[in-house]
Amino acid sequence: MTSDSVIDELKKAQILELLEQGKRVDGRTLDEPRKICIEINAIPKANGSARVYLGDTQVLCGVKIQPDKPFPDVGDKGMFMCTAELLPLSHPTVETGPPQAPVIELARVVDRGIRESHMVDVSDLVIEKDKSVVGVFADVVAIDYDGNLFDACSYAATAALLTSKTPTWEMVDDQPSVVEGADKPLPVTTIPVSVTMGKIGNYIVVDPNGDEWDSMDSRVTITTDSDGNICALQKGGSDGFTQDEINQCGELSIKVGAKIREQLKSVQQESQ
């Protein structure tokens, strides 16, 4: 995904040529994300799960909820963590072994977007203060790659969290013990939506597909919350943005994100 071959150069030239006519390789408008398909409860053994297709990019998220020891300085809060990983079957260039910088960045950006929105209300996930809290782990794996894993992983984690059911625990003999038949939805306060925009030449495109991803000069991922505020951002890639472009991307992320949030909301409602 990183080395440029002659074919890549030709592809990039074609993508740029089309953009100059206001078109994209797959016929979308510049501010149009690909079709998003969300299948919830794909893994019934998880507390919540979602398979998300963003065009041909496919990812799967499973949420596990279990009692854990709290961090020493925050005994009055539960834990939330989100990870992301590229499976070797997702693309011919993916190798096994410890994650490389791009994958570490992916995981951290997806986690940060959801964490900074305060989606999961961790203050509501305490079994006994300083002794036992609830840990919520959203693990996302990329199954098939066609660009923009940032948004696909974020939607999968968000959809899985929105539809998760958490058991209830009580302390018995100083150990957390599950209360039977007391499962309830996870406490969520907002729906974060991540929107990634790529800059190709002087054009900003929403949700770059695989070919666009390989051709873009730089990118920015912006996460917005249900109030239409911006709660996380990450710029990447080997070129810069002007201040006007950054402002424009902020507006785009709010506009595009609002529509995607409606889709996530309907997924949540269907599950109840």
Partner: protein, 244 residues
């Protein structure tokens, strides 16, 4: 990193911050170009209580060889914190945070360095955080630009960096450690003032659309101040008095 003090006043009624600064006032910044004998270029920065050393090597042969690119030189950046740089000892192996910051700084520098002039070579930038106090990535990026210039590597511009943020519902310049831990938002900005391009931008914390635009603007203006100090550091080394 630091402990959190819930009772601390981040911004008092006179608009003065926890360390005595005004809302648009950066911390004390001292940049020195050069200083290392073996590196091709180097810089040292004190940014508030941050103390960061940067050494640059190259353009030089690429090892391992398969990493080399026949069309262009490559830039490699390692951001590393010393175990003693923070409150509680940091394990010396690179953390996921350090790997991400290395990547972000690399991509912030790439637009500035004319790597295409040196195909099949590598420029290595080694950043060592000796003492950390919030805003290390911005201070590191600022110093790395000076070190690259000191190494005589052709550049389009230097990248200056500083963080803007939100504390007590107010947009501020140069977020310190306490403000990062207890504040509402932190936005590191890296900017090439002559080319007017933002090359590093991150955000965590909630901002309204208006605050977002203001935060970017405050950060960009702060970078212009840092830029002057970068130029002064180079000027002092190459055109200043030996006694300075």
């Amino acid at each position: 990193m630091g402990g959190r003090d819930a009772t601390m006043v981040l911004l008092d009624e006179n608009g003065i911050r926890c360390d005595g600064r005004k809302i648009d006032e950066p911390r004390r910044i001292m940049i020195k170009a050069g200083g290392l004998k073996n590196a091709d270029g180097s810089a040292y920065i004190e940014f508030g209580d941050n103390k960061i050393l940067v050494g640059v090597f190259g353009p030089r042969d690429v090892h391992p060889k398969h990493m080399s690119d026949t069309d262009t030189g490559i830039l490699r950046v390692r951001y590393h914190m010393e175990p003693f740089s923070v409150g509680e000892r940091k394990r010396p192996a690179p953390s996921r945070r350090e790997i991400e910051i290395s990547k972000v700084i690399k991509e912030a520098l790439e637009p500035a360095v004319m790597l295409e002039k040196f195909p099949r070579t590598a420029v290595d930038v080694f950043i060592e955080v000796l003492q950390a106090d919030g805003g290390t990535r911005c201070a590191a990026l600022t110093a790395a630009s000076v070190a690259l210039a000191d190494a005589g590597i052709p550049m389009r511009d230097m990248v200056a960096a500083i963080a803007s943020g939100k504390v007590a519902d107010t947009i501020i310049l140069d977020v310190n450690n306490e403000e990062d831990q207890a504040g509402q938002a932190d936005m590191p900005v890296g900017y090439m003032p002559s080319l007017k391009k933002i090359t590093l931008l991150q955000l965590d914390g909630v901002l309204t659309p208006e605050e977002y635009k203001k935060c970017v603007d405050v950060g960009v203006k702060g970078c212009e101040v840092v830029y002057e100090l970068q130029k002064k550091a180079l000027h002092d080394k190459y055109f200043g008095n030996k006694g300075d």
